[in-house]
């Protein structure tokens, strides 16, 4: 898809020689506006977020109340556009409410991990020495496990529940964010402008704030955005295994689990939550790619 965006990026680097130059973020915004793929996926995500946030207002039915006479109504049934699930609950309503939970499980762990892992990684990278070695070796221990396995293990130990799922996903993502933040910080720390700032008499906090953070935050945030899709998928996996959210709750992964009994009778309905997960995580990944392109100052 990025091939189609190529002509845009080719015409992009026309450096204007205005006397008043826009700030960095204005430039990022302009580059984003020129990127059609990112624009479309980002607006799709925004519309979806708005819809799931407004679920109580726009959902046509109660997500928990089923009608056993209308079980597994096909797509397009009058009054039930997307059909009903195995307990006769409206699929559209369930998908809207499920999206709230899925996006919470997609964004929340990553945001927490970004906060904790980013701080730890930047400190480890900037301080260096044995602090760095300790932090990175501990990170390596977590890295030895596949992330899904680790999430299942932690969730299993903590027991089912939404907050436990968020906690386990946060723990899963911290090591990789620490690693990205650390390597970005180390590469920046050794550049001459950090040395020059120190030679100018700047303290460590100022150097981190002015010279390290702005140059490290970009790659770390982009990486974290790409993790959001992964987080949603693992959260869905946890729910599917019965470790995340529990049955009456609507959540895409859980819906996939309960609907799998109907996969032969009503495949087009059973697949709906999966399609939602797929589209949302692909959108998150494409937006993160677009962000990376827009934030590259040389782009």
């Amino acid at each position: 898809m990025s091939l189609f965006a190529a002509p845009d990026t080719l015409t992009a680097p026309q450096v204007t020689l205005d006397t008043v130059r826009p700030g960095y973020w204005v430039g990022v915004w302009h580059r984003l506006l020129r990127d059609r793929v990112t624009l479309i996926t980002a607006s799709f995500l925004l519309i979806m977020l708005a819809a799931i946030l407004a679920a109580p207002l726009i959902a046509p039915y109660n997500p928990y109340q089923g009608n056993i006479l209308r079980r597994l109504a096909p797509i397009g049934s009058p009054g039930y556009w997307l059909g009903t699930d195995e307990l006769g609950r409206d699929m559209l309503t369930r998908l809207l409410y499920g999206g709230r939970m899925s996006c919470l499980l997609g964004i929340m762990p990553v945001a927490l991990a970004l906060l904790i892992g980013g701080t730890v990684g930047i400190i480890a990278g900037f301080v260096g020495g044995w602090v760095n070695m300790m932090v990175m070796r501990i990170t390596d221990v977590f890295y030895a496990f596949p992330s899904v396995l680790l999430a299942v293990a932690i969730s299993g130990a903590l027991g089912p529940g939404i907050s436990n799922a968020i906690l386990s996903l946060t723990l899963v993502f911290i090591p990789s964010i620490v690693r990205v933040a650390e390597s970005a910080t180390v590469s920046v720390r050794n550049l001459d402008y950090v040395e020059a700032a120190r030679a100018s008499g700047a303290g460590s906090m100022t150097i981190v704030g002015v010279h390290v953070l702005p140059n490290v935050l970009g790659p770390v945030i982009i990486y974290a955005t790409s993790l959001t899709g992964v987080s949603m998928i693992i959260a869905a996996g946890l729910s599917f295994l019965g470790l995340g959210t529990r049955p009456p709750e609507a959540e895409w992964g859980l819906m996939l689990n309960t609907l799998r009994m109907s996969i032969y009778s009503m495949p087009e309905i059973a697949i709906l939550p999966g399609i939602c997960i797929f589209i949302t995580s692909v959108c998150f990944n494409l937006v993160s790619d677009g962000l990376r392109r827009a934030m590259d100052i040389r782009g």
């Binding site: 001459d192 030679a199 100018s200 008499g201 700047a202 100022t206």
Partner: protein, 346 residues
């Protein structure tokens, strides 16, 4: 030029331990990047420092701007020791600034050039508007129109323009000493000349002293008043530029000069004046460090490292050939100081 001393370096030593060796109780191998270096920097002069790659030039520059702490020895700035109990670090850094070789990595890519220049005054308590106007003023002084350049980012500038920004950044605190660590090595020859002339102009405008590190002998000859030749972390020769260029006393200096490309086709080199790489710093040769590559080495050279023998007029060389009564067959008799014929071609 006054002969007042601005900065004195006394027996400065810095060693590094080698990484990547498993220790298992044994100490890691260490090497001395700067070994017992002493010299004085006079107010208002330009002191050139030359030497091969890895001879300790950059370590010396980082020691002088306090980006590294020496293992031994002292740096005295305006009569006061640098470090514990002497100059407060922040105040010292206001007085001594550095310009690095790589103009691109010396500038934060996320800051406009004006912001980069204004950073140091902000650190030292100037208001935002005062810092920005100082930055614009400096941009003007280094020949970049502030209206056109203040809002640009480093990647929009050429190498020469970026190095001008770095010079402006070093000057903005009005320091007394600027360490120029190969400031023009990465630039085109035409741009190099412009930047060198700019540095010369700024030196008189801002009344600043330069420590000019380079491996380009022509550049140093153009810029420097005095010259310091380093080999493997130690001073091999020291003196006024004219006298060192006219009569290099150390065979290493002579070889360096002989390696200069000549503009005349008749004077092409037949053979390189020096062969091989410098010996490893981890295990330097005993006695004179240059012994292993020296054509006139004798047994006496293996016994101890030659001290700096004065040759008069501030010229000194660390070679037994110029030390009266040193035991070298070419050494002058005690009581005389002559510069031997080292075979240098100019």
């Amino acid at each position: 030029m006054t002969s007042e001393t601005l900065l004195s370096v006394r027996s400065l030593t810095k060693s590094f331990s080698l990484k990547g060796f498993s220790s298992f109780g044994r100490p890691r191998p260490r090497f001395r990047a700067v070994d017992d270096v002493s010299f004085d920097l006079l107010k208002g002069e330009t002191l050139g420092v030359v030497g091969e790659s890895g001879c300790g030039k950059s370590t010396l520059s980082r020691l002088i701007v306090s980006l590294m702490q020496p293992d031994d020895g002292a740096i005295v700035f305006e009569g006061q020791k640098v470090g514990h109990g002497g100059w407060p670090l922040k105040e010292y850094r206001r007085q001594v600034q550095i310009v690095f070789q790589d103009s691109y990595s010396s500038l934060n890519p996320r800051l406009t050039v004006a912001e980069s220049i204004a950073f140091a005054p902000r650190i030292h308590g100037a208001s935002k508007s005062a810092s920005m106007s100082a930055a614009r003023d400096l941009l003007d002084r280094v020949g970049l129109g502030p209206d056109q350049f203040a809002g640009r980012y480093p990647h929009e500038l050429s190498g020469g323009q970026r190095q001008r920004i770095n010079i402006a950044r070093a000057l903005v605190l009005r320091p007394k000493l600027i360490v120029l660590d190969e400031p023009v090595s990465a630039l085109d020859k035409s741009v190099e000349a412009q930047v060198l002339n700019l540095l010369k102009d700024l030196k008189s405008d801002f009344d600043v002293t330069y420590l000019f590190i380079s491996h380009d002998l022509n550049v140093v000859q153009y810029m420097a008043d005095r010259l310091l030749v380093m080999y493997l972390g130690a001073i091999s020769e020291f003196g006024p530029v004219q006298s060192v260029y006219a009569t290099p006393a150390h065979p290493y200096t002579a070889a360096l000069f002989a390696s200069r490309p000549s503009l005349s086709p008749e004077k092409r080199h037949v053979a390189p004046p020096l062969t091989g790489d410098p010996p490893s710093l981890i295990n330097p040769p005993s006695g004179c460090r240059f012994r292993s590559r020296c054509a006139t080495a004798e047994p006496v050279c293996a016994e101890s490292h030659p001290p700096l023998f004065p040759l008069g007029d501030g010229h000194a060389a660390s070679c037994f050939m110029v030390g009266p009564g040193s035991g070298h067959s070419r050494a002058p008799a005690i009581g005389t100081t002559t510069v031997p014929d080292t075979g240098a071609r100019h």
